[in-house]
């Protein structure tokens, strides 16, 4: 379990598989949107001013805040 890293650390263009969520409430909302442990995530682009991430999860496309991306741990 040592080498889990948050989604936020992925560079633009990087991809990984979700392991778990560190924040209960954010995790609950992500689950509801179909972002599940085991889903593949890809970071497509980042907004200006250190803003949100534009990611692809399974077949859908989402905008996530940096705080939200930090709460998603990748395998």
């Amino acid at each position: 379990m040592e080498n889990l890293k948050p989604l936020l650390e992925l560079p633009v263009g990087g991809a990984g598989y979700i392991d778990s969520f560190t924040d209960k409430r954010a995790g609950s909302k992500l689950l509801a949107m179909g972002v599940l442990p085991g889903s593949k995530v890809e970071v497509l682009r980042a907004a200006p001013f250190g803003g949100a991430l534009y990611v692809k999860v399974n077949q859908s496309y989402l905008a996530l805040r940096t705080k939200e991306a930090a709460s998603i741990l990748l395998k």
Partner: protein, 711 residues
């Protein structure tokens, strides 16, 4: 459910995730036979439409807010859970029509599978059948229906195809006795034990509803204190961990229906169309994205300004003509005055905003329909977050530059209540078009019309300064509200970025219609009442003071041998001085004297509460030059420049007074219509009152500071 012999009205809930085209389908089904209200206690839109399915069945269709699951994260989503977890709720449905997008079926089936487990009759409507066909997606509807044990229809909210079939299947569903299929989700042993204990308290719920009560006992509004405590004891006894349970439930559901979907749907490609990807490379580009956004907003702004002014002029012309004609026909008196200056002016004050509202919502809902607004929210989320606002707030703030009324109404798309409230509270700081006449008349007293740095007009720069001041005030106030306002609701972005698609004009036009109707009826009432009050204050005084004032004015006019026009102007001036508004102006003079204002300006401050530009008209009446035919404000400016203090003989409109007055109009909440709309959008007088107080306080203090420093 088996009394089909009498015509009865069934409640049908329309549910689905956000961005599935649920509203399109609702609009297709109900058209203009829809009403918009609010769910009890909250400002979440509740759209209701009525339609006849068959000779025996009429339905009341309720469009619920877009929801992702039974684990709610926003006020919108909580509405769905609290309605469906409570069979006694007035909106508890007899059946559910669930809308899912064919191209995203796995994800959209999560909420569906939860709804189905409530034991209510469900119908699955697969939307975008037309898109699916174009993209080479084929679906085996029979297989899907058999496996999920619900009727399935393919529909298109865009073209309206499949609607007859949907109505048929729905009326069948309502007319036969319904037996709930076995739940899709199998409760774990721990969950079963919890459900059992809950059912001992609530005998009418099924196992899954019992589990939901255990999950959400801490916020469900209809539970009694005792019930909440008992539920708390149950969850504690079984060591229930809500998130872990939710993860297990969600995973199991996906495991159940994903193989079904994969078997039922044949896709040619897994990727979304290249067009969206190519467009997003430009629209969400780090540098180009914000530039394109501001260009688009400039166009929106320009459209409100230029397109809306034409019908606004018509409305003003029409009502002016109406008022003049009535004044000619009817004898002079209080009734004619009430009709022309009170009622007609009040109606005009409402209708004149409709063009701006219509144009703004036409363009905004067009951008929303094509999928652009989600991109704008993504781009500006970070900077807006800093000020306690939402990515979508930027649209309201920019629209506020034309008029705060449609801007405040546009905040409905902001999901987080705190961010929405802050946006509503600070938007009126942005200088709207009604402030322009006031700025134009006053700015000459502050800055000369000279050229600076070889290029800029000094007055133009001062104008821009006033605008920037308004923007700064809005952002700083937002930041302060972010620190003050407390909320339990967490703020998320987690926003879907849907594919770009052509807008459905029906949806756009229905939005415009609904916004105009809501404004006219709900905010209009308040505006109308205040207009009548303002008319009364400016037209009446205590006892017969107004008649005396008129007689004195006539005598003065006779001795000075004034012509008819000048006599009328003098009478109007003396009458407003003697009226209640005049008395109020004189009463507040001690309070506004430190700002450099006299009682005449006091009267104008009171009357311009109807709309800021009324300031000019009132000043014209007070100075006895008549309010007619002064389009450019030139004669009023000249008259103001001549105004001397009766004691000291100095010019009343010194630079200090004019600047103080300008600042007052930048900051003060001088607009009853905005307050009426804020009332309508927040459902309480608390927020408009707070807004009025802090804006007026800021206006007062800054005017005081400037006047005292400069004079």
């Amino acid at each position: 459910m088996s009394t089909a012999s009498v015509v009865r009205e069934c409640v049908v809930a329309l549910l689905g995730n956000p961005n599935v085209g649920k509203s399109s389908l609702f609009n297709q089904l109900t058209g203009l036979r829809q009403k918009v209200g609010n769910f009890p206690g909250v400002t979440v839109d509740k759209k209701i439409g009525r339609l006849q399915l068959s000779s025996a069945t009429a339905i009341k269709l309720i469009d619920f807010p877009g929801t992702y699951s039974f684990y709610p994260n926003s006020e919108d989503e909580r509405i769905v859970v609290q309605t469906l977890a409570q069979p006694a709720n007035q909106d508890y449905p007899d059946a559910i029509v669930y809308v899912a997008d064919v191209t995203q079926l796995e994800r959209h089936l999560l909420l569906f599978s939860q709804l189905r487990d409530l034991g209510l009759p469900c119908l699955l409507a697969l939307n975008m059948a037309d898109v699916a066909e174009k993209e080479g997606i084929t679906i085996d509807l029979n297989y899907l229906g058999k496996k999920l044990q619900v009727p399935v229809v393919a529909v298109s909210g865009r073209t309206g195809s499949g609607l007859d079939q949907l109505k048929n299947k729905l009326s069948q569903l309502l007319e036969v006795d319904f037996k709930a299929p076995k739940t899709l989700y199998q409760l774990s042993r721990q969950e079963q034990a919890i459900a059992q204990d809950v059912k001992a308290l609530f005998p009418n719920v099924n196992a899954y509803q019992a589990l939901l009560l255990a999950h959400h006992h801490d916020w469900l509004p209809y539970l009694s204190k005792q019930e909440t405590t008992s539920l708390q004891q149950i969850t504690a006894k079984h060591e229930m961990e809500s998130l872990r349970f939710q993860v297990n439930e969600t995973m199991q559901r996906f495991d159940r229906f994903t193989p079904i979907v994969q078997h039922a749907i044949q896709r040619q490609s897994e990727e979304r169309s290249g067009l969206t990807e190519r467009l997003d490379r430009i629209f969400t580009h780090r540098f180009l994205g914000p530039i394109i956004f501001f260009v688009l907003m400039l166009l929106v702004f320009q459209a409100i300004y230029s397109w809306a002014t034409v019908p606004m002029d018509w409305i003003e012309g029409l009502f002016g003509w109406l008022s003049d004609s009535i004044a000619l026909v009817l004898p002079k008196g209080w009734f004619t005055s009430l009709l022309t200056e009170g009622i007609i002016a009040g109606l005009e004050g409402i209708l004149v905003f409709i063009p701006q509202i219509a144009v703004l919502f036409f363009l905004i809902s067009l951008l929303e329909e094509v999928g652009y607004m989600a991109r704008a929210a993504y781009l500006f989320d970070r900077p807006m977050q800093f000020f306690g606002l939402n990515g979508r707030s930027i649209v309201a703030l920019i629209s506020g530059g034309a008029c705060a009324i449609p801007a405040v109404m546009s905040t409905r798309t902001i999901g987080n209540w705190k961010e929405r409230l802050i946006t509503i509270l600070v938007t009126p700081f942005i200088s709207c078009s009604a402030r322009i006449p006031v700025y134009t008349v006053l700015i000459g007293f502050v800055v000369p019309s000279t050229v600076v740095w070889g290029f800029f007009n000094a007055q133009g720069l001062a104008f821009m300064g006033l605008y920037l001041l308004g923007i700064a005030a809005a952002l700083i106030a937002a930041f302060i509200f972010k620190l003050i306002l407390k909320t339990n609701e967490r703020s998320y972005l987690m926003l879907e970025l849907p594919e770009y698609r052509l807008p459905v004009m029906r949806n756009v036009l229905l939005t415009v219609w609904e916004k105009v109707k809501t404004f006219t009826i709900e905010a209009g009432r308040v505006i109308f009442v205040i207009s009548i009050i303002l008319w009364f204050l400016a037209s009446y005084g205590p006892g017969n003071t107004l008649e005396i004032a008129e007689q004195e004015a006539r005598q003065t006019a006779q001795t000075q041998q004034l012509d008819e026009q000048a006599t009328d102007n003098l009478i109007a001036s003396r009458k407003i001085e003697a009226s209640y508004a005049g008395i109020m102006g004189k009463t507040i003079e001690p309070a506004i004297a430190p700002l450099g204002f006299d009682w005449k300006m006091g009267i104008a401050l009171i009357t311009s509460f109807a709309a800021r530009e009324v300031f000019i008209g009132t000043m014209a009446i007070i100075y006895g030059i008549g309010s007619e035919e002064d389009e450019e404000g030139i004669s009023i400016r000249n008259r103001m420049a001549q105004e001397k203090d009766p004691i000291t003989g100095e010019a009343v409109y010194s630079m200090a007074t004019a600047l103080s007055l300008l600042l007052f109009y930048v900051f003060a909440m001088q607009c009853m219509s905005t307050l009426a709309v804020v009332y309508r959008e927040t459902k309480t007088w608390k927020w408009p009152l707070i807004q009025f107080i802090f804006m007026t306080a800021l206006a007062y203090l800054s005017s005081l500071l400037v006047y005292q420093l400069l004079s």
